[in-house]
């Protein structure tokens, strides 16, 4: 008998990136199928193709043995495919019923038939163990309950196959337990459940089978009962570590960044960083590996003063900087490369020269007093700003029509060089680099990598936060692995066991501190 779902030879390319490469993937009715892989392995792309959000460049989709064409989410819903995204698609001021029937035709013509819908929702909720009050407003619900509403929405629309994108990332442990019961109930009723995850424990606990993707390809599909977490970690991250950049041995100096027992709250008020401690010394790169969303953003924001820690201490070169403002942190000679260069790093409509002084516009020599006594003041020093820009453009090989060119006309690699130039120009003590090469081509990536290594040689402390395992392996002297806001272990990169790294990243192992 044919599998309930078969995706055959799916290919999808975004620019230079082959996100899905000849992927063939099957899921049976009544099974819970985990989709495992690093960031950028192609899991979400594959599922978005199934849900009709992307069109594949090649390959076909078969449901119940028949070839189907899915051009939009409407098509996929019609074929009985539902998807719960990581970010919920709910209307907070509406009730649960209103959210569930949103976009559906009412049995009463132009009028809503919420009573009948509510009854059906209660019925579904009972069958699948989804505790939700149909009359409650969505804004009143906990995150876990909102997720149940999303699942109800899919079931109400007759989903036979449900795709869940990192469903447990937002749940508390108790909610996760209940959620797993629901998944079981769905599988028992013959639904197919595909869930995308990074957490080994969940794969082992709930899935029947597991497919591992790496670099857009299928590494393999295994029965969960017949494998081990070590085996899965090897499939997920297993690779030859080839050092593509030349690196002299590190000469670590004094401690520059000292983070002790730090806890930081995330957007939803839950702790995103939990009692984390780490140290970065002058002249070394500490790589923070981990899957996106394990507290990286919150940690970086706490260090650079954008987010107030709940507990713990951050000191920079011996100064207590816990709860300092971004300005005070910059004054301690800490600079950073933000996660997203266009929205956090640069003012796209400013000229290149203006962007190069974004964090130092009020310092000498870029600002001065009218009589020019070398001190900073109220007026911009056009000459100094221009000279600085010319120098930075040459030193960092920024391809721009000139210092006055509008920044948004530059390519991604050159934008990042601009951010790096600004961050490194005034010899910082500490650089916090978050995803410094995300979305860049090979040439720009190598440029940035070599620059970072050169800065390390020059004695700067660098905290490299990256979800790209290759990058962390290439650049770091030591690697700390972040999982759910905690450090699972710190390893020297020399002779590192990649499988062990994979286990740490998936939360399946923890090293003694």
């Amino acid at each position: 008998m044919a599998a309930f779902l078969r995706m055959e030879n799916i290919g999808k390319r975004f620019g230079q990136l082959q996100a899905n490469d000849q992927i063939t993937f099957e899921a049976e009715a009544g099974e819970i199928h985990a989709l495992l892989g690093e960031n950028g392995a192609g899991k979400t792309t594959l599922m978005n193709i199934l849900y009709g959000l992307y069109q594949p460049d090649s390959g076909g989709i078969y449901l119940r043995g028949e070839k189907v064409k899915i051009r939009s989410p409407q098509d996929s819903i019609r074929h009985g495919v539902g998807m719960v995204h990581q970010h919920f698609m709910l209307v907070p001021p509406f009730t649960v019923v209103q959210n569930v029937v949103l976009g559906l035709r009412s049995s009463r013509g132009p009028f809503l038939d919420t009573d009948r819908a509510a009854a059906r929702i209660r019925e579904l909720a009972n069958q699948y163990g989804l505790k939700v009050d149909p009359e409650a407003f969505v804004w009143q619900l906990s995150v876990g309950a909102q997720q149940r509403v999303e699942i109800l929405k899919a079931l109400y629309r007759g989903a036979q196959l449900l795709v869940l994108d990192e469903p447990t990332a937002v749940l508390t442990p108790q909610e996760t337990k209940e959620f797993f019961l629901t998944l079981r109930a769905m599988a028992e009723r013959g639904h197919t459940v595909i869930f995308i995850t990074h957490k080994m424990e969940e794969v082992m606990e709930i899935s029947d089978r597991c497919t591992v993707l790496r670099d857009g390809k299928v590494v393999g599909t295994v029965k969960t009962g017949e494998t081990t977490d070590t085996e899965l970690a090897r499939m997920m991250v297993g690779r030859e570590v080839v050092f593509r950049v030349e690196k002299k041995p590190a000469k670590p100096g004094e401690v520059v960044l000292d983070v002790r027992e730090l806890s930081v709250a995330g957007e939803r008020g839950l702790l995103a960083v939990r009692g984390l401690s780490l140290q970065v010394r002058a002249g070394e790169i500490l790589g923070l590996a981990g899957v996106d969303g394990n507290g990286q953003t919150e940690l970086a924001e706490a260090i650079i003063g954008l987010r107030r820690p709940v507990a713990g201490r951050i000191s920079i070169a011996g100064h207590d900087m816990t709860g300092a403002t971004p300005r005070q942190v910059i004054e301690q000679k800490v600079t950073h490369i933000p996660e997203d260069r266009m929205t956090m790093g640069l003012v796209p409509t400013f000229s290149v020269q203006e962007n190069l002084i974004l964090d130092s516009y009020d310092q000498a020599p870029y600002s001065r007093r009218p009589l020019g006594n070398g001190k900073s003041g109220w007026f911009l020093n056009a000459r100094a700003i221009l000279d600085h820009a010319r120098q930075a453009i040459t030193d960092y090989n920024i391809k721009a029509p000139g210092p006055e060119a509008r920044t948004k006309m530059l390519s991604g690699g050159n934008l990042q060089k601009l951010v790096l130039a600004r961050a490194m120009y005034h010899a910082p003590r500490l650089l916090v680099a978050v995803q410094p090469t995300r979305g860049l081509d090979v040439g720009a990536t190598e440029f940035i990598w070599n620059r970072l290594l050169a800065e390390r040689e020059a004695g700067r402390a660098i905290l490299l936060i990256s979800a790209d395992l290759d990058e962390v392996l290439q650049l770091s002297d030591r690697i700390a692995v972040l999982f759910e806001g905690e450090i699972m272990g710190t390893l020297p990169v020399q002779g590192i066991d990649v499988v062990e790294l994979g286990l740490l990243m998936a939360g399946a192992k923890r090293l003694p501190a």
């Binding site: 650079i304 003012v347 796209p348 409509t349 203006e354 974004l358 060119a405 991604g412």
Partner: protein
């Protein structure tokens, strides 16, 4: 993505090549031929549509426009009147420019203008009773300060609400317009009413030394127009030559990046709001000190709104808004002549003004598209 070829914008002096702004197309400075031609074309189209409307109401559009032009610029007196009307519009437009450059949507210029007029009047009356012998060289700066401080203080309420509690400044500033207009009405009918004014809603005259000199004898043209142009140059310098202006433009164009770079975003927003209100306050000051020499009920025929529109028409560039202010001053002045000549309502001019804004702003989108 590849690096695009050098574009002509790169060679132009600041701020033409660096006008900041993400959300609004008119933040973009016009630099090329297209950039100049399209907005002018937009103006012409607006007049074209106005012509159709004039024809539809039974007037000969050519005759009407001729009268409009004559009314605005046809004689020495008409030109003077146009300049007089342009003065408060220019002050307001400068204030709006300052706020909008920081992405602070101050729609409360009309209110700030009224409160600025109150500040100037109070300063002028206080000097009259306390220091009647003060020379103009001291009295006039005090008037300027009075207008600026009152306008700025009034705007600061909306600024605090926005910065502290994220209250939308569009709502608060619009609401505060009505408060200010009615407050002036209350003052001129009540506490400030001059007993000698035969019951008319107006205050007593301010100190003579505090009045702005007339530039042309026996005309209404006063020093205010010079002050407004000076203010335009100052706003240009502050926005593009000082660290404060840099900060404000950075916050206006990308608050997130500004915050990441250590700029105090709420403070910049607050400062932009206060300076914006202060400049609108100067419009009220100039009306009191230059034209009426006292506070009148309903002394502004909507300069606040006109100034807001002029700021947009002038692409939020302090120098470019000078001709835009003249155009609007001319339209207001010429409207009466046109209405009398072809027997149509002056409101048709307001309609044409609206269409102008629509088309000029529309052309900005187009310029952006064409220039990439």
């Amino acid at each position: 993505m590849t690096t695009p070829p050098a574009n002509p914008a790169a060679a132009l002096p600041e701020p033409l090549s660096v006008a900041g702004g993400v959300k609004l197309p008119w933040h973009r400075a016009r630099t090329s031929l297209i950039g100049f031609a399209l907005p002018l074309g937009g103006l012409l189209v607006a007049f074209g549509i106005g012509a159709i409307m004039l024809a539809a109401s039974g007037a000969n559009p050519l005759v009407a426009y001729q009268a409009l032009f004559k009314g605005a610029f046809g004689s020495r007196n008409n030109i003077i009147e146009t300049l007089v009307k342009s003065t408060p519009i220019l002050f307001v437009a400068l204030g709006v420019t300052f706020a909008f450059r920081c992405s602070v949507w101050n729609i409360g210029s009309e209110g700030q203008l009224h409160i600025g007029a109150v500040g100037a009047t109070l300063a002028g009356l206080a000097m009259k009773s306390l220091t009647p012998n003060l020379p103009p060289i001291l009295a006039i700066p005090i008037m300027i300060l009075g207008g600026f401080l009152f306008g700025g203080l009034y705007a600061s309420f909306a600024g605090v609400l926005k910065v502290k509690w994220e209250v939308n400044e569009v709502i608060t500033t619009i609401m505060m317009n009505f408060v200010a207009i009615l407050f002036v009405q209350y003052l001129t009918f009540g506490p400030l009413r001059d007993p000698a004014a035969n019951g008319l809603p107006m205050s007593a005259y301010i100190l003579e030394a505090a009045q702005l000199a007339r530039l042309v004898a026996r005309s209404r043209l006063h020093l205010g127009v010079v002050l407004a142009v000076v203010a335009a140059v100052l706003v240009y310098i502050v926005l593009w030559k000082t660290t404060l202006g840099y900060q404000i433009r950075a916050v206006g164009a990308n608050p997130r990046a500004a915050k990441h770079a250590g700029i105090n975003v709420p403070r910049s927003v607050f400062v932009a709001m206060v300076i914006s209100g202060g400049l609108a306050g100067l419009a009220g000051m100039s009306e009191v000190a230059g034209l009426h020499y006292r506070l009148l009920d309903s002394f502004s025929p909507g300069y606040g709104q006109a100034g807001t529109v002029v700021a947009l028409l002038g692409n939020l560039h302090p120098i470019a808004i000078i001709p835009a202010a003249l155009l609007f001053g001319g339209l207001i002045t010429g409207a009466d002549t046109m209405a009398r000549t072809v027997q149509v309502s002056t409101t048709i001019i307001t309609v044409i003004q609206g269409i102008m804004v629509l088309f000029v702003l529309g052309s900005q989108f187009l310029v952006d598209k064409l220039e990439g």
